[in-house]
Every structure is written in C-alpha cells, then in structure tokens.
C-alpha cells in the first residue's frame, strides 16, 4: 500500500513539473462564475416544446437561444438540461414509450433575422442528464423529430438546413438504429429543406413532409420557389409523391402539415403561396380542400407556419400566430379561444395539448411558456424561464448599480444588479416597447434613459413622468429616408456630457442629448442599391419589418483617449475611422487581410489606453461564413492582427478591452464568452455557470469591476469582481499557487426582506457579500492538507477555513465575522446568536497552507463608505456588540457549570439512601440548580412560549446592536449594562454555592465514602 502511494505521489509530482508551457484553457477560470439575474418576467422566444403524454407534469421547453429546460412539476420549477451544448433548439421530441429518452434537434427554425444556428441532433436516455451527439452536425436548423411509436430506433427528422447559404444536409432524414446511421430519404435541392413532418397515427409508414425553399441574406429574405411542396410517402420514406391537386396556384412557400391524432385520414396543411391557404384532406391526402384563406392562416409563414389539431376533437384545430386562433369546424371558421383571458405574448410558435385532457395546454411564445387548463380561455405564464435575448447592455453608477438593455421581442428593461432577497421578477422594470436594443442611462441626469425600438426609433425617456420624446435624426431631403439598422447603433461619448452619436448610413452627432443633430460623415456604407430593396423582401409573403434594413452603420466607438477619434463599422463590411471628429474618414477594412469582402462589422471598440489601438469583430454568418473574425490594430487601422484562434467557437459579436489591464480581453461569440489574459494571444472559454450562449454585448462596471454580459438567450449574466483576472498573468499559470488580489471587503449588514412568493418565480442571485480570498492553482488539490488561515492585523489567528481545491482560480468566501457566540443550552435556537460580529477594519493576513507550503496574501476590511456612520460611532457599535457577545459566552459558560454541577449532584443523589440526610441536602441543591438554570435560559422549545430569560434578553440586545453598523441607542447600551450586572450577580450566586456550600457537601460525601463533586467545576474552569 505504502509503495503504491509513493508511486502515486511521484507520478503526481512529475505531472506537475512536466508541463512548462503555459496554456490558457477554460480551466484557469476555476471557480469564477457568472450569476444570472434574469429577466424571467419577459422570458424569451420559445421555439418548441413537448410533454409526456402520460404525465403532463413533465415538460421540455426548447428556446430560441437559451437552451433546453425541463420541469417535472408542471412548471413550478424548471432547470436547464442542455447547458453544455448548443443553446438554439429547433425541435424536441419525447419518446412517449420511454419518456426518459428525448431527442433534440438544435437550430431554431423560426428563421427571423436574428436566429441562431444549431450543431446537430442529440439524444438522452436518462431524462436529460447526459446527451449524445448523433450527427447531422451541418444541418444548422432542425424543424421536427418523429419517433416511430412502434419502434423507438426508427426516427424521422425534418432538417431545414442552412438559412444563409446552400447546403446539402437538408431534407428528411431517417435512422433505423437509434441514430447511429442516417439516410437522407427526401431531398429536393441545396436550397430546400424540410419545414414540417407528420406521421399517420395508425400507419407508421405514412408521412407527409412540407418542403420549403427559402433563403435569407442580411438585406433580404425569400420564401418560396419551385423546391417547395407537400410530399407523401406510404412506405416509410422509400418513395415520395409530390401533392399537386388541390394545392394553391403558383409557387409555394413554407408548409406546415399535421395529421389529426385521432382521425388518421384527416390531414391539415397550411400552405404559403401567393394566396396562402389552410387545406384539409379527409381521405389521407388523396384530395385536398381549401378551408381558409384569411390572414390568420397566412400571416408571417417563416415565423408562424404551424397547425395543431386537437388530440381529442377531430374538428378542432389551433393556429398559433400573432395570436392563438381556433377552429371548431375543421378550419372553415377561426375564432379566438381567449374567452376570459388571453394576455399572452403576441408571437406564438409551439403548442402542446394533453391527449387525455384537451383542456390542458402548453403554449410557447416569444414571451416564454404559458399554460391553460380551460382549453385556451385563460393562461398562466411560467415566469421562471430566464431565456431573454438581449442585444446590448449598459450600467449606471448607482449603488447597487442598475443594468439596462433591450430584448428581442420584449422591449427595453432595467433592473438592479442586486436586491434584498435576490433580483426578482418584480425588480425588473419595463422602460420601452417593441424590440429593444441599446438602452442607456443618462450619466448626468438620473431622470433620463435612452432606448429604442427596431429600425432606429430612438427616444429619450423621462422616468418620473413616463413621457417619451422621439429624438431620431431625419433625412435632409423630403423624399428620402435615412437607413437605420434593425439594431441601430447609439453611442455616448465616454468623456463629454450630453454628446451622443447615432448611425444610419451617416454618422450623426448631438451635443444636446438628441435635440439637434449634426451629420458628421458622408455615407459610410457601400450604398449598394441592390441591397436596399427591403420593400420586396419576404418572397411570397412580403415582410418588411426593418429587420432587413441594410447598408447601414452598425457600430460606433469614440476613443476614450482622444475624442476626435471615432470608429464606425457597417453591416455591409466597411470599417471607417476619423481622427478629426468626422471631418474626414478612412475606410480601413481593406487593410484587414483575409477578411472576406462585405463581412458584417459586428463591433468596433477603441482601446482604453492607447488611441492608436482598436478592436473589431466581424460576423460572416449572414453570408454563411461561420468563422470567428477578431482583429486588433495598434496603428489606427493601417495594419490588423487577427486574434482569432481555433479554440474560439462561433461567429464574433463583440470584443472589449478591460479598463484596467490592457492585456485582459473579453470576447462574445454566438457560442459563448471567451477571455484572454495575454492580449489575445490565447483564449479560454469562460464556462462558470455560463453556457454556450450567444454573447452580444459586454460592459465592465467602472467601480465594481464586474463584467456584465448581455446574452441573446440567457438574459444578463454578471461575473462579479474581475480583479483576479486582471491580476493573473501568463507567467503565473505555471506556478503551483498564487494568491491574487480581491476588492476590499465592506463592513455592513446585509439587507433583508420578507416575502413568500412560492417556488415558481425566478430569483436572480445576488453577489457574494463575503470577503473573497482568491488564488490561482495550477492543479486540483487532491492529496494532503490544504486549508486557509486568517490572521488579524495584530497577527492573531482568528479563523481557519476550508480551502477551495479546484484547478485555476479559487474564490473562498470569508464571512468577516467572528464565530457565532456560544449560548446556554435551550430546546430552541437563539436566532441572533446565529451570527458573530464583524471584525473591525484593517489589513488581515491570509495564509493558504497546502501540504508543507504556505502562501501569504492580504485581505482588507473597510467600513462601507456609503454608510454614514462616523468611525467613533462604529467603534461604539463594535465595543457594544463585543460586550454583548462576551456576555452571551460568559452566560453559556455559567450555565454549563450549573448543568455539569447539577449532573454530578444528581448522580450522587441516585447513589444515596432515602434515609440519608445528605440526600435531602443534595436534592435541595439540585432543585435550586435547576431553578438557577431556568433563570438563565428558556426551557421551552416552542417559539411562542415567550419565555424570556437572561439568554433571550442578552440575545435580544446582541441582535439589535449587531444588526446596525452605526451607534447603538443609549437604551441598548444601558440595557446591556444592566443585563451584564445581572449576569455578574448570577456568577456570584454560583460562586457562593461553590464556595459556601460545596465544601460542606464534599466533606460529607467524603465522609460517606463518595467522590467529591468540586473537581467537575475545576475541570470546566481549566
């Protein structure tokens, strides 16, 4: 055994020293993690959902960008079950014969301009704990998965395929071996994918497939073409027949198709065409009847092509769209199921109806999931699915600071970064409507916010009145319109009050908060008129919502070092810079080698320290190019260096340089958050409670040093206190252990609140208020001792803490409080004594002991400067609370003595004969000791007994003084002194018993040949 241990230790050590080259990986971030503050009140776009037919409490929800969520309690609580994988979910299907088996197709198929991409099909067989990638990695968008109810290994998949370019991995796929191998069983061409699939409920070889020809570009969308069509197979996909009779005339677009689950000859098809229609076949597809051509069935097919037959009533069908429409007569007449309610989001994408109780439904919308138990009349939102899709984020300098941002589909919002009890739904405040993008607080006027809705509708918003002033610039020419991006850039000068910029094709500057604008550039875009035909966008169904506005400025950055330098990036691939406040501009994009022409500039940011430095990201996915483009210039754009590396995943959205350490960079891509500590030479993905979610914007709080992350799928994530990342250098990565700096810890009491909201609310975590001991270690600690000691400024050891053991950065919380005071034993807990008093301000020494080595660091405690108490008042508080603390401990010691003494007395009583006079003496003493104990402490377990003894009285004062960091009241100080003299009296009382009574008792005991009882007290005193 010893030998094997020795070998083990040697091999362990050799590993430690063999690795000489530093290597940044996700592991270096160790226990750093983000906290999620929501919002869940908005939730976000839901693309698909499925529930267990035999137990509707189990529901899986696929979101557009926030992953897959599962509830097992009908929505009271959800948990994400797909965080290691791609967060855009296209389809989710439960194997109803084995409900722990679930298939997920990644890549949403409601293909709006901002849609994400998938990376294949996955399967779990254990209810979501573990997932296996089973192929179709290049499909990008997956519309439907159907499991053969007679053979779970046979699965059909509707693969929509690429949105932005041609690809061949699309059509209908089938596996007969549970996903090991796949056959493409229906393929039209590289522009046409399968948008919907349905299986005959009584014939598992009969299926219909809706094939869709479609294409999106940054500047246009096309739905429809010769590839589209409705196809039928009756032999499990070997042969397919294209439906022609009864179809609408001309080219077809997106098609949704669904068998009635209860009448296998009845099929509904929602067919986009010049005249879109709902068709019905009552003879298994032989003939089709047009049932409805109203706008309800025709609206926005790329977003709402879905028809859901009721699983009980053959004539009842639902059409989700801008609202939920219901037909009770097979599609002829549509009406609203919302009889008494209907306050649900206005974009609907998924509907599940319980096959054994069609009153119960789950509805997936752009505002999350709703449930109805009255067949759609009224709905309850699951306000616990935090899958909001932010475009941007900003912060103010309030305490705690507020976070601002705009959401796809859900307007503009603000919330405190922390709040008593956590950041709850009710802490989120809706400040603007429409689709939300940039939201900024005015840093010079607390009453003003700026927000915008799609296509450049920029407003100044007055919080106190709720009034909104539109401040967008207009064209100088009556017949012309400025070209504003869907997500129009607004930027504030980092150095000049009231100065803001807005980009259309021109850059505008305002020095009066948007009341007037000066155009400070020519058209900075390519101004390609072929890409400005948005009125024709949409294909068969024109859809000009500003989402395809193009040849526009997309990103603006004024240099914090030199405000004459302004950078601008455009959606059509220009990167322009002025060094003279806009008098002249230079397009420097051609200096970026290897960047394909016309690649969307997703962000440009001036360096914070050197005016010649700038960082830019480009996003080629609009052209089907998924590479990560990240660049840096150190010469104002003349030359560029790529900072992109193989281990970065996803097309790039944003790069930010830290405001303290220029080597610390943060990069947001479609698949996550990446961090570099060496100026971009190497990157690691930040995965601490941060899934592979689209990161659209980043801001570093200038005071709190938090990194605030705007995700397009998981709301706002905050990485608290990035100080350790600022400290970490590549050289340190080879060290066994390095102690890193942390922010000074503020001495204050936590806020509290009393609410009992139930379990169905999302509550965003607050930052850890404790002091943070932070260190980096090269490898996880496994063998031998590792712990932390803390020494006060005088060098006294005051605390021993368990150490963090993980590889990379460790963050260990220290409460900065003394251990809770000891208190006399009682059947109930003494609430105030659950906490010790905080230590006074000063520099405390931290020693991290690891094996035979010790690593020293410092941690400083400071009085919270935001609290108004004088040093003298705080000192009085500290002295008073310490006095009360000591009093409780003295009381505990006194009570213990009494109890121990009484126990001894009782044991002697047991040994004595009833006739013995000593027995009476001892019984009397025991009774008095018992009474004595009961004078010191409550003896009731009931909280409501109201027994107030010395323990409770001192505890009360202790708690009151502890709970306020300033000067205690005179009454409290006086009361405490009074209680302490009472305590002294009690101590004297025991002293009298010990000194006056025990000697006689002991000599009597000795005389009677019993052990004396004074030694127990002596033991305790020691």
């Amino acid at each position: 055994m010893k030998k094997s241990l020795l070998i083990l230790v040697i091999s362990f050590t050799s590993i430690l020293f063999s690795q000489t080259k530093s290597d940044i990986s996700q592991d270096i971030f160790g226990s750093l993690k983000s906290r999620h503050i929501g919002p869940a009140v908005t939730s976000g776009r839901i693309s698909c959902l499925d529930a267990v037919n035999s137990d509707a409490r189990i529901l899986y929800v696929g979101s557009a960008g926030g992953g897959l969520w599962k509830t097992t309690n009908g929505g009271t609580t959800f948990k994400p079950v797909f965080d290691k994988y791609t967060q855009s979910i296209g389809s989710v299907t439960i194997d109803q014969n084995h409900p722990d088996t679930v298939w997920v197709g990644t890549g949403e198929t409601w293909v709006r301009n901002s849609v994400s991409v998938g990376t294949g099909i996955y399967k779990t067989t254990d209810g979501g704990d573990n997932w296996k990638l089973l192929g179709l990695e290049k499909s990008e968008h997956m519309a439907k998965i159907i499991i053969d109810p007679k053979n779970s290994d046979i699965v059909y998949v509707a693969v929509l395929g690429h949105l932005w370019n041609n690809n061949e991995e699309r059509g209908v796929y089938k596996t007969t071996d549970g996903g090991i191998t796949w056959n493409k069983i229906l393929y039209v061409d590289e522009n046409t994918g399968c948008a919907d699939l349905t299986m005959n409920p009584s014939d598992n070889n009969s299926l219909f497939a809706g094939m869709w020809q479609f294409r999106r570009k940054g500047y246009t969308f096309n739905s429809g073409g010769p590839g589209s069509g409705l196809f039928k197979t009756t032999d499990g996909g070997v042969n397919w027949e294209k439906m022609t009779d009864g179809m609408p005339e001309g080219k077809l677009g997106r098609i949704a198709v669904a068998y009635s689950p209860v009448y296998p000859k009845k099929i509904y098809a929602l067919v986009e065409a010049k005249n879109s229609a709902l068709l019905r076949s009552d003879d298994n597809g032989k003939t089709w009847e047009e049932e409805n051509i109203s706008s309800r069935v025709a609206e926005r097919p790329f977003y709402f092509s879905l028809i859901v037959p009721d699983p009980v009533d053959t004539n009842r069908i639902y059409k989700p769209g801008f609202s939920l429409y219901m037909s009770a007569d097979g599609g002829k007449l549509f009406t609203s199921p919302y009889v008494e309610g209907g306050r649900v989001h206005s974009d609907l994408h998924a509907l599940w109806i319980n096959p054994s109780n069609n009153n119960q439904m789950y509805l997936g919308t752009d505002g999350g999931v709703y449930t109805s138990i009255d067949r759609g009349s009224t709905w309850r939102q699951f306000a616990n699915l935090p899958v909001a899709q932010f475009y941007h984020v900003s912060v103010d300098n309030n305490k705690p600071y507020n976070v601002y941002g705009g959401l796809q589909d859900n307007g503009s919002w603000s919330a405190p970064s922390s709040d008593p009890g956590g950041v709850e739904n009710s802490d989120w405040e809706n400040v603007g409507y429409g689709d939300g993008f940039y939201v900024f607080p005015d840093m010079y006027d607390d009453d003003i916010l700026y927000w915008q809705s799609q296509g450049g509708n920029i407003v100044r918003y007055y919080k106190s009145s709720g009034e909104v002033k539109e401040i967008r610039p207009y064209s100088d020419e009556a017949n012309k319109k400025l070209r504003f991006n869907w997500n129009t850039p607004v930027a504030f000068s980092p150095t000049q009050e009231k100065v803001m910029y807005v980009g259309s094709e021109y850059l505008f500057k305002s020095t009066d908060r948007g009341d007037s604008w000066e155009r400070i550039s020519p058209d900075l875009t390519t101004n390609d008129t072929e890409k400005q035909k948005q009125e024709e966008s949409g294909g068969l169904t024109i859809d000009n919502s500003t989402a395809e506005n193009y040849c526009t400025i997309f990103t603006i950055s004024e240099s914090p070092v030199d405000n004459k330098i302004i950078w601008v990036g455009t959606d059509d691939g220009n990167l322009q810079v002025t060094t003279n406040s806009g008098k002249s501009w230079q397009n420097v994009v051609e200096n970026i080698e290897e960047l394909p022409a016309n690649t969307w500039c997703s962000s440009v940011n001036s360096g914070n320290f050197d005016k010649n430095i700038a960082y830019a990201t480009f996003d080629g996915h609009y052209n089907g190019d998924m590479k990560t483009y990240v660049y840096k210039t150190t010469d104002l754009g003349k030359t560029w260096t790529s900072l992109s590396l193989e281990n970065i995943k996803g097309y790039a959205h944003v790069i930010k340089e830290d405001i303290v350490n220029p080597y610390l960079l943060f990069l947001g891509t479609e698949f996550g958050l990446f961090v570099s500590i060496d100026g971009g030479d190497s990157w690691g993905q930040f995965t601490g409670e941060t899934p592979n979610v689209s990161v659209r914007d980043l801001v570093i709080h200038p005071i709190e040093s938090d990194l605030v992350v705007a995700t397009h799928g998981r709301g706002i994530l905050i990485v608290d206190d990035i100080t350790p990342l600022r400290e970490l250098t590549p050289a340190m990565l080879d060290s066994e252990l390095v102690v890193l700096k942390s922010k000074p810890s503020k001495i204050r009491n936590p806020r509290s609140q009393q609410t009992f909201p139930g379990d169905d609310q999302f509550i965003g975590q607050n930052p850890d208020e404790d002091a943070q001991i932070i260190y980096y270690q090269k490898k996880r600690h496994i063998f031998g001792d590792m712990f932390i000691e803390i020494y006060d400024p005088d060098g006294n050891l005051i605390k021993k803490l368990p150490a963090g053991k993980n590889k990379g950065i460790n963050r260990v919380s220290w409460s900065i409080r003394k251990d809770p005071p000891k208190v006399p034993r009682s059947p109930g807990l003494l609430g105030p004594a659950l906490y010790g008093p905080t230590y006074p301000p000063g520099e405390y020494t931290v020693k991290i002991v690891k094996g035979d080595k010790t690593y020293n660091g410092k941690i400083s405690l400071i009085n919270d400067p935001d609290l108004p108490y004088s040093t003298e008042d705080r000192k009085i508080q500290y002295e008073t609370v310490t006095k009360a603390y000591d009093a409780l401990e003295s009381l505990a010691a006194l009570d213990k003595k009494i109890n121990v003494l009484n126990d001894s007395v009782k044991s002697r009583i047991k040994s004595l004969n009833d006739s013995d006079e000593l027995k009476n003496t001892l019984t009397n003493l025991s009774e008095r000791l018992n009474d004595f104990h009961e004078e010191l402490t409550s003896t009731s377990a009931s909280r409501l007994a109201g027994q107030e003894r010395l323990r409770e009285k001192i505890g009360d004062i202790y708690g009151a003084v502890l709970g306020y960091s300033g000067k205690p009241t005179d009454s409290q100080i006086k009361r405490l002194d009074l209680l302490i003299s009472e305590l002294n009296n009690k101590q004297e009382q025991l002293g009298r018993i010990i000194n006056d009574e025990l000697p006689d008792i002991n000599s009597s005991l000795k005389k009677a040949h019993y052990n004396s009882i004074d030694n127990v007290i002596q033991k305790l005193d020691k």
């Binding site: 590993i15 592991d27 160790g30 496994i782 063998f783 590792m786 712990f787 208190v823 009682s826 059947p827």
Partner: protein, 242 residues
Amino acid sequence: MKKLFYLLSITFFVISGIALNAQTLDEILAKHFETIGQDKLSQVQTVITKGKLVQGNIEIPIIGYSKRPNKTRMEGTFQGLTFISAYDGEKGWQLNPFMGDTIPRDATEDELDQLKDQADIDGMLYNYKEKGYTLELTGTDDFEGQKVYLIKVTKPNGNVYTNYMDAENYVVLKTVSKVKVQGVEQEVESFYSNYKPVEGVIMPFSIESKVSGNTIAQFVFDSFTFNDDIDNSLFDMSSFSK
C-alpha cells in the same frame, strides 16, 4: 437545518467508498482499492470520525461512529443542541432538535437508505454485487483538465451515484448523487480532497457539497480513528437518554 443534515448524511457515507478505475471496470476498481488500501480497510471494525461541518459562518462539530457490519451514528452540535441520526443494523432513527424533536423518531425510508449507506464502512463500490448495486463504467470525462472515469452506481431503489474517478491517481474526486427524497429527485455534487493515509487507508479529509453549483456545506475532518471499541447501545434508539 434539516436539509443540511440530510445533505450531510448523503455526502458522508461515500467517504470510504470512493473509487477510481482503469480500462475495464474491474481493473479500475482493483487499482482504486489498491490505492486507497481497501485490504487494510477491510480489517477495520469500527471508525470514529471527528470534524466539523462548515456552512457559511457556522461551524458545527460533528462526530461519526461506524461499526461493522452495519451500525452507524452521526451527531452534530450547535448552540448546545445535538442532532443525531443512527442505525443499529435494523432500525434507523433520528433526533433533530432543530426541527423541534425532543425525543428520537424512526427514520423515514429515504433516511434509512442513507443511513445504511453510511453504515457501510467499505462504501458502495466494494463488493457492490453482493450489495445488489449495479456498477457501470459509463465512459471518461475531462474534469478540470484531467481524465476521469465515470463510474455509475445504481441502487435497487433507483438512486444513482456517478463517481468521477481520477484516471491517474485512482481516487474519487467527485460524486454526483441523484437521490429520491419522498419521490422527488435531489442532485448533490460532492468533491473529495485532502486525501491522507490513516493506518494505511487513504481517506478524504475534506468534502465539499454543492447544489446547482453553489457550495452548501463543507466537511472538514480532523481524525478517523479505527478499531476503538464502540458500545452497541450508541446505535440503539431505545438506549437514548437525554
């Protein structure tokens, strides 16, 4: 407080049972048992564990007793009140003054299951077949940059424990427990470290428990004492006295 002690008990039992693996499950287990000194551990008749449970600023001294073949007791004291959970080989019981108990009560079925695990000095990997457990090497994973074997233990009641066995050192670094409590699944991650030899047996002197990524409790052990006499009455509910 109730939940804390529940977590404590589900974390605690794994101490002696943590293993690691190699190519095949059996090889991996063999290496693990060799590493941790299972042969020595098999000769251990009683274990007394002393340490503390740390939760935030609260530290609770704890003491655990185990005696072959299947007796166990654990207690923790705070503000003079002592929580006890115990199993005498037949009957499980608990006294939780923090929940208002003044006299012991029978353990629930779920608690009993955990107590039985806790009473198993060898842990669940050793002689797992005889214990009726199913072990499965479900693959390997990267755990903070090091390779681990994933050993899944499934108990007849459906509770699942996935052990992350260090592929280099053959000790368990982490266990993910999925345990049903009153029919509701609870997931706890336990991380083991500060492994040190005790009379030839490698024991983890530190265990950190996390729920949803947040540390909810840490156990720090000062000592494991083997083969001291432990009176059977300690495990017996009827012999409980205040």
